[in-house]
Amino acid sequence: MTLAFIGGSHRTVPLDLRERLAFSAEQAAEALKRFRLRFPGREGVLLSTCNRVEFYAAGENTAGPPPREQLLAFLAECRGIDVRLLEPVLSGECDEAAVRHLFSVASGLDSMVLGEPQIVSQVKQAWAIAQESQTTGPLTGEMFQAALRTAKRVTSETAIGRERLSIPSVAVADFARGVFERFDDKRVLVIGAGKMAAETLRYLREAGAHDIVLVNRTSVRAEQLAARLGARNGRFENLQAELTSADLVVSTTGATEIVVSLELFQRAEARRDGRPLVVLDLAVPRDFDPRIGSRPGVWLYSIDDLTSACAANRKSRQRELPAAIAIIEEETGRFMGDLHHRSTTPVIEQLRAGWTETGDAELDRLFRRLPTLDATAQTEIRQAFDRYAAKLLHSPLATLRSESHSGPPHGLLDALKRLFDLKD
């Protein structure tokens, strides 16, 4: 065993325990320093996000990473949690399974929202903290580099992270942006103070919107919200006038009846000079009369319309899953092949050194017997010897590399050690 991980995610660890187990950046650095002192010579990286806490450990063949029980006790101790609480919810894997798991995590395949891209930066951050804490090494280095490379391939070669999944992001990016080229010259009207208004406004602000008016039945609440959202506070009684000047409406009231009737809208429409209007009716029940959606120049989207678009996007992501898994399998296989080949390096180096030593001794003897040879001739002969040794070594080394793809070539290595009297 060379690589191991232990951890849990939103799939296995309940939220309250996940909150207690989570590490801040400072706590992660502190824990890694403690790891370095407790397990000298071992490598460790701690990945802690709101959805998962995972510890990746590595050690060369002779030492190996700390066993599962020790890692479990270490995590429990760091967070002051009874180890018996963690035992049933944290799982662990080693070697190929651990690598495959990290690659899946970094690619967003193990995330709560399939294909979400934030995990890549969280993996990078975890790696940076481990580097600062001096708990990284060649094994975790290669493993995390390969994980980031895999995530990049999954992003560029599949559409798994391409389609949006949240209602506000779909409303703005797929629909409002389909109508308007820019938002910095548009007026946004927010009716009500529902939960989704703030998130939708965040996307609109990112798109450039800054002229935002908020109207609510309760003016005190509207004032507070307007101040929080950086919007101008309008009066609910002036709704018709606000509708006349708005380009985009986000409606999220808790009203049980229609807030904008067809008649009210038609009065506002007459003064709109034909400007298009996008209405994102995120309220349940709806705030806008559905007949308004069939008025020319009006693009009305209810929560059901947006939910359907989100569901279609989710299906589209699911369709990309096999392609993403294939990339992860390919990269895992490549990484493990390289890792197994690393284990052959000491034997190869010994073999090469032994042949070079013997060759040099024979050449020295030859040059003493033939003192008339000039420097050019000696160099030519030395190069010929080197080429001869390289050619003889080529075939066994190629066989070793090829065998490494299917696992550590222990049989071949033992045979080489016995045949050429190599020591560990």
Partner: protein, 296 residues
């Protein structure tokens, strides 16, 4: 080098544009990391060959780009191909080639059916000829771009009305942008087509004065089709302007641009397959012909 340039034929750049179009179409089927680069490489190669072909004709056959129907169509296609390449680089996620490249290929096809014989010109009429050809070229390109924007507007509006998320690889520009392009190009097309028609009248008068070309009568198919097109474009631009403050304005303009393109296509086909005295040298008088034979 000269051997290389002289070997370039229409097939070379048509093949490149076809491959670029196939790459664009494949967006709808699968994702690829290298497709964008391949698409731009083939479009750029096609445009390069297209440019060399036009330059070679200008250098060896005294065929200034607008001096024959064949060269006129190829130049119009070249302008659109250049526009496509620029848009493909600036907006790599927009499948603009699916709409522009068929028009480019259609214009090259029209060139193949047109006369390669340069119109006879004198230094005096050359200026009017260039003005006439340039305005007509600008009008045709504006009509084509407007129609492409109009078609994209209708597709995008259909998608938004059906409340569907954008298809993979088929993300259109916003309705606001497309409406702006189609409205502006309709105005540009009306103005430039009118100027092209007026300069054609001036050219006709200059030719008649110098006896270079046959006088083109008002009943000639070319005059009729160009007149009809100018009339349509002026009406279309006026209608588009008149409905500017109505909610249906963008949809009406989109349809007007499509009808304008249909009128342009009909006009081109009429020009290719109809009979005309446009650009035809005057018939040699019988007496002059006998004198020439006697001189020989």
């Amino acid at each position: 080098m000269i051997e290389f340039v002289s070997g370039i034929s229409v097939v070379c750049f048509v093949a490149s544009y076809l491959v670029a179009l196939a790459c664009e179409a494949s967006r709808l089927v699968f994702r690829s990391g290298v497709r964008g680069a391949a698409m731009i490489a083939f479009a750029a190669a096609g445009l390069f060959a297209h440019t060399l072909f036009l330059l070679w004709r200008a250098a060896t056959e005294q065929a200034v780009p607008l001096s024959s129907a064949f060269d006129w169509y190829l130049l119009a296609a070249w302008v659109l191909a250049g526009g496509y390449l620029w848009l493909a680089i600036a907006n790599p996620r927009t499948p603009v080639g699916l709409f522009m490249l068929p028009v480019v290929l259609g214009l090259i096809g029209a060139a193949e059916f047109s006369s390669r014989q340069p119109f006879p010109q004198s230094p005096a009429t050359q200026v009017w000829g260039a003005i006439h050809g340039s305005f007509n070229l600008a009008a045709s390109v504006a009509v084509a771009i407007g129609a492409i924007a109009g078609l994209m507007w209708l597709i995008q509006a259909g998608r938004l009305a059906r409340k569907q998320a954008p298809l993979q690889g088929f993300r259109m520009p916003s309705l606001e942008k497309l409406a702006q392009i189609s409205s502006r190009t309709l105005s540009v097309a009306a103005w430039t087509a009118s100027a092209g028609f007026a300069s054609g009248i001036m050219l006709n008068a200059a030719n008649r004065q110098r006896g270079l070309l046959e006088t083109v009568p008002w009943t000639d198919p070319v005059v009729l089709r160009m007149g009809a097109m100018v009339a349509w474009l002026v009406v279309a631009a006026a209608v588009s302007r008149a409905v500017y403050r109505r909610p249906e304005a963008s949809r009406i303009t989109a349809w007007l641009t499509l009808v304008s393109f249909a009128v342009l296509t009909a006009s081109i086909l009429w020009g290719i397959f109809g009979t005309t005295r446009h650009g035809v040298p005057p018939a040699v008088p019988a007496a002059a012909a006998i004198d020439s034979e006697a001189a020989l």
